[in-house]
Amino acid sequence: MPSFENEVSIRKPRAFRRRPDLPPPKVEKIKPRSGLSRAEVIADQRRRILEGLALALAYHGYEDTKITDIVELAGISRPTFYEHFESKDSCFAAAYEDGVQRLSEAVEAAGGKAERSARLSAGLGAGLEFLASSPPLAHLLLVESLAAARPARLERERTLDRLAQALRRSQARLPGREAISEETARLLAGGLASHLSGRVLAGEAERLPESQGLLLQYLLAPSLPATSSAAERHAAG
């Protein structure tokens, strides 16, 4: 009979020392599969490493995460890890890029399906749902990117630049709204990211979708037409 105890737990002494407030992370052990091509096996290993990294980071934090933690969680050998990545830093960079890519795809897919005027709201909602569905990934993208080595911080800045551009585009499409400046969009992107990081740090990643109304109000405020009165703005908001 196949066993369903597909879980590996991390070595306990380390785990308990680092984060007594959290249960030790567990990752689904990948079932041994036959008939996979070499390329599929490699892609699967890579996915497991990135997932293992996200879990290890959420638990230990960047500085204290060791390659040992990642390979244990991913259920692979240390040499296999080094076939994919030369270091924790390069593994983080790949996981960050991969996560941002998936997040953007979720946001764009939802925005593309929505009416012109509802794209911002739909994209925001989808982004929040995506992050809420994987708290370790949300932690990696929003929290650890602050604590990682400097190249990772700069990558985070570039991601926020792209988010700012997307915010400008989405607001330009809204009827009756003024274009916002690049700098304002960048401030908005930073405020949005800070809010999300704060919620994730507080252990509230799953509840991120609850912030949608507040975030929309925040993101839309600067593009309100200059002439509108408070009453009109209330109706518009």
Binding site: A147, A149, T184, L187, G191, S194
Partner: protein, 242 residues
């Protein structure tokens, strides 16, 4: 290096130099104390070492980053022994938090003093934001500490940062009463954007240019509360940012 001391209003923004605090004569405060038996009072020596450690923490942070920073980095920068470090602080975190508290209080106190006499809420925001960016532009190490290190230096540091932001959020929220539809948390979001702006300047090695962002920042802070047109009128009265 400009000396510390009270900032002249509208003049050069003050500099945060913890080893020059308390009016210690600069040559005594900064200098390594004479080796051996120097006859200086024990209390003076301890205080001097404490402030030198704080100043050293501030200086080595940008190079190392808090997570990778060791006590050895701080003590060698301060030219203070490890034993003396442990007489002052239980560890790296306590030293960091002390640095943050001193710098944060120095910063908040100056911004609050700048706006203290202003009746009009819009002027308080306008002048407060301008002064904040001036101070940080003149003190890139403080900008780095507050915007880059505090978020990655553990739970206690983040709580300290949050407490500081709450002080400013209270001022922002005072613009609320006429706008019942605005959510109270909006002020926190706005301030999160400000921290991110500062971090971006610091990460781009251009913290000294922060004052150039004054107009954008003031507009960003005011618009949700008073709308674009009024915000532009307030901006028109903004003095040229250095």
């Amino acid at each position: 290096m400009a000396a510390g001391g009270p900032p002249a209003p509208g003049g050069e923004p003050g500099r945060f130099e913890p080893d020059l605090l308390d009016g210690l004569p600069a040559e005594l405060a900064m200098a390594r104390l004479p080796a051996g038996r120097h006859g200086l009072p024990r209390e003076f020596v301890a205080h001097n070492q404490r402030l030198r450690l704080v100043a050293a923490m501030l200086r080595v942070l940008p190079e190392r980053g808090y997570p990778a920073l060791t006590i050895g980095h701080v003590t060698s920068e301060a030219a203070v022994s490890r034993a003396a470090f442990y007489q002052q602080f239980a560890g790296k975190e306590e030293c960091f938090l002390t640095t943050y508290d001193l710098a944060g209080e120095w910063f908040c106190e100056r911004v609050e003093r700048t706006v203290a006499g202003e009746e009009d809420w819009r002027d308080r925001i306008r002048l407060g934001a301008a002064e904040a960016l001036r101070l940080l532009g003149a003190n890139p190490l403080v900008a780095h500490l507050m915007a880059v290190e505090a978020p990655q230096a553990g739970r206690a540091a983040r709580e300290r940062q949050q407490a500081m932001l709450d002080r400013f959020a209270t001022v922002l929220r005072a613009g609320h009463p006429g706008r019942p539809e605005l959510q109270a948390d909006l002020a926190d979001l706005l301030l999160g954007g400000v921290v991110a702006l500062i971090a971006r300047y610091v990460d781009g090695d251009r913290a000294e240019r922060l004052p150039e962002a004054t107009a954008v920042l003031v507009e960003y802070l005011l618009i949700p509360y008073i709308g674009g047109e009024e915000a532009k009128a307030v901006l028109a009265s903004l003095p040229e940012a250095g």
